[in-house]
């Protein structure tokens, strides 16, 4: 009983959404559960999905990065290999206070994947690297 429960629950929920969406093109039935698990991130994340704000960037070598157009117009970067987002809410709620599992952008990335709502963009290796480095510069 020592391992964490919540990630398994969240993953299962997202899987169900994806399955339901593939079968019926509807992801209607899960909003309540999303709200329960993800709390205040749920509605903003769904809104980002409604607005098709998530883009998956892919480089020739197969590296993947996600960019989410936030409501303020700012572009945030989410990693695919671990849960990380460049938005301030992630730094605060997830990293510092461990209050949330994900920020709304990462949740939007998952939901967009589940519902086939990701925009796809092929970029060069250099472009991908620049995006990653640019984030670093901002932090620095």
């Amino acid at each position: 009983m020592d391992s964490c429960t919540l990630p398994g629950v969240a993953e299962e929920l997202l899987r169900e959404i994806r399955k339901a969406f593939q079968e019926t093109s509807q992801a209607e039935m899960f909003s309540c559960r999303l709200k329960f698990i993800f709390g205040p991130s749920a509605v903003p994340a769904l809104d980002l999905v409604d607005q098709r704000s998530v883009t998956r960037l892919r480089s020739p070598s197969g590296r993947i990065l996600y960019q989410v157009l936030g409501s303020s117009g700012k572009l945030y970067t989410c990693y695919s290999s671990c849960h990380f987002c460049t938005c301030p809410a992630f730094g605060f709620s997830v990293l510092q206070k461990s209050e949330s599992l994900l920020c709304k952008h990462i949740l939007a990335v998952y939901l967009s994947q589940a519902m086939g709502a990701c925009q796809e963009l092929a970029v060069s290796e250099e472009q991908l690297t620049n995006i990653l480095l640019a984030e670093e510069e901002d932090e620095g």
Binding site: L14, E23, M29, S31, D50
Partner: protein, 645 residues
């Protein structure tokens, strides 16, 4: 938020949930003990608690029955009892203040989740939970505990663990149906509809929540209470092929096959179009309207066909917009208050699940106060409406009917043009037309009774026709009825019968093509090349008579299978008139024999003498005509004489 999007949907759900939750908390605090023997209640005993993010995870033992029957000392974990992981939100946890050994009652609608490769089921959406105190001992203990803060272990979640959405072993339906187990706990196999302890009625009253909790697979046992706003028929395109015999469509009973549909509304302003059974004819639609509109009904056994938005279903939403947005008032027996909330931007289209229909309409009951009856207006008012795509209802006299005659279009898809008037148009001197054209598209399903009534020229009630761009159109969801519905708000409309003969606008410079008008003028010419006459059967009107083989001087009618002794002569002639009301145009009128006495005499005269001179200068007075076309270069109006119904 995106209108009609998933976020808006969740927001609506959330708002309702929030008020339900706070009501529940209030009830718990005020000490009302809610009986726990209702079905759907999960009873658990907490063994261990820890925290992950803001969710409290409680490892629990599921209890079969109310622990009041067990001795309080019974703290031994029975290996037989199933273990559950119950999740609580921060607020619920704060409300419960649970500790190990506490017994919690969790009321529906909670949800159960089974995770792949994990043994222990997870219980979520546990908003409606209450701690149960077993004895006086417990109460005292509770008070002491309340003062000390319990330390709960917090699990920190690794960021390295991402979620994998695709399944390597993708089992289809089996898996998803296993995981999507709704409220009913496994120990209770009854198929009772869920009962929320707070609900005033046993049946759920929210369409959105029902859709939410049961999934696209459909809900069987759960019932939703709604109000029927409208009943209508939609043309059934899918079922059409199966009813055809060979290539010729089976057009029994006046036309197309259709589905009976209801536009329903729940107590929260959510709409849904429910498609019921296929009908072979729309006879009886008037009955359904009369018996069902405005009444409450319970829906069960439905499944979701589609979620549609305002942008994609303008016709449906123009009907929904008739109903003003109201919210339930604050008090118990509240009046509905009209608000400034925006009208709904999405709705669900539901359909019947595999042959079983459960629509129980409470016909005896009162009309719901949510019902918005059709607002009837005089045609004069409708012509003045500013908007576009507005639904309007009126009572009108049909003067003339014209079918679209393109032969390439199949019968069931032909449009019809009706010319309609009422006392509000007839009794006005100038400024507005006396007759208005109403087009009836093929998607507006007409019953046999109506089709017959149209040819006979009756007064009909047009319910929910569309007004826009200066035209009235009967489309999908418009219903034509022989009688005015019992409930309709007349809003001062003059629905009196027409007194006196109907008058048409006279042909003038404002006359448009595809309209009807009255005409008077002088004959100035005859189109001799198109003049002809032919005999018709005096019994059946058949125009294709044959020469009798026995006696070549007699005519024979195939349809009557008899000799025609007194054939009726029909004539067709195009006459050019000079009309004082539109002096600059050449007016060409196709006239038919047997319509007006004057024309008959004139034509007989013409044919006998074959002298155009004999008809020139004759006055032709007040013919009713249909305007075929109006051209400006050359300035010519082509009309056809008609008979008003």
């Amino acid at each position: 938020l995106c209108r009609g999007g998933l976020a808006e949907r969740l927001c609506r759900l959330q708002n309702r949930e929030r008020s339900a939750i706070s009501f529940w908390r209030h009830q718990c605090l005020s000490g009302d003990r809610i009986p726990s023997d209702k079905s759907g209640v999960l009873i658990v005993k907490i063994l261990e608690i820890f925290e992950e993010c803001t969710i409290q995870v409680a490892i629990c033992q599921q209890l079969e029955q109310s622990p009041a029957t067990l001795s309080p000392e019974d703290a031994v974990i029975n290996a037989e009892e199933p273990i559950l992981k119950v999740l609580f939100t921060r607020e619920t946890a704060a409300h419960l203040k649970s500790r190990p050994q506490d017994v919690i009652h969790i009321y529906p609608p909670w949800q159960k989740l089974l995770i792949q490769n994990a043994d222990v089921p997870v219980i979520m959406n546990t908003y409606f939970s209450q701690k149960v105190l077993l004895s006086e001992h417990s109460e005292a203990r509770e008070k002491t505990y309340g003062l000390t803060k319990m330390l709960i272990r917090k699990n920190i979640i690794s960021l390295a663990q991402t979620f994998r959405l695709d399944d390597v072993n993708d089992k289809l339906h089996q898996e998803s149906s296993d995981n999507q187990v709704p409220c009913a706990p496994q120990t209770h196999k009854n198929g009772d509809s869920q009962r929320r302890p707070l609900a005033l009625s046993a049946v759920n009253d929210s369409l959105l929540e029902m859709v939410e909790s049961q999934g696209a697979v459909g809900w069987r046992e759960v019932q939703v209470q709604v109000v029927i706003q409208r009943v209508y028929c939609l043309p059934a395109r899918e079922g059409y092929r199966s009813h055809t015999q060979g290539n010729k469509p089976l057009l029994s009973n006046g036309g197309m096959f259709c589905r009976l549909c209801l536009l329903v509304q729940d107590a929260y302003g959510m709409f849904s179009e429910v498609q019921l059974q296929s009908l072979s004819s729309t006879d009886g639609i008037e009955q359904y309207c009369r018996r069902w509109e405005g009444k409450s009904c319970c829906l069960a056994g439905m499944k979701i066909l589609q979620r549609t938005t305002r942008g994609r279903a303008l016709g449906l939403f123009s009907l929904i917009d008739i109903v003003p947005v109201k919210v339930p008032g604050q008090s118990q027996d509240s009046e509905m208050m009209t608000t400034n909330l925006p009208p709904p931007s999405f709705c669900y289209i539901l359909t019947v699940q595999s042959g079983e229909i459960h629509v129980e309409v409470d016909e005896e009951e009162q009309i719901s106060n949510l019902y918005q009856p059709p607002a009837v207006h005089g045609l004069k008012e409708i012509l003045r409406i500013d908007g576009c795509n507005e639904r309007c209802s009126f009572w009108g006299q049909v003067l003339y009917q014209r079918l679209q005659t393109k032969h390439s279009v199949p019968i069931d898809q032909r449009e019809m043009l009706l010319f309609v008037t009422d006392s509000t148009l007839q009794n006005v001197a100038h400024g507005i037309p006396k007759v208005v054209a109403v087009s009836v598209t093929a998607s507006c399903v007409l019953s046999m009774e109506i089709t017959e009534a149209l040819s006979a020229g009756s007064q009909l009630f047009f319910k929910d026709a569309l007004w826009g761009n200066g035209r009235i159109i009967c489309v999908e969801r418009t219903v034509l009825l022989l009688q005015k519905p019992l409930l309709c708000s007349a809003a001062g409309a003059d629905l009196s019968e027409l007194t006196g003969p109907v008058r048409l606008d006279e042909l003038d410079s404002t006359t448009q093509a595809s309209s009807i008008c009255a005409l008077r003028g002088t004959v100035v010419g005859v189109n001799e090349s198109t003049a002809f006459s032919w005999p018709t059967c005096n019994r059946c009107g058949n125009g294709k008579l044959e020469v009798c083989p026995q006696d070549r001087e007699l005519l024979y009618c195939n349809q009557c299978s008899e000799v025609v002794t007194a054939p009726v002569l029909k004539m067709q002639l195009e006459v050019f008139l000079s009309c004082p009301s539109r002096p600059q145009s050449t007016v060409k009128v196709k006239v038919w024999h047997e319509i007006t006495m004057f024309v008959l005499l004139t034509m007989l005269l013409f044919l006998q003498t074959y002298e155009v001179q004999s008809v020139l200068g004759k006055e032709v007075g007040l013919l009713s005509c249909y305007v075929h076309s109006i051209t400006s270069h050359p300035n010519c109006v082509a009309l056809e004489e008609i008979v008003l119904l």
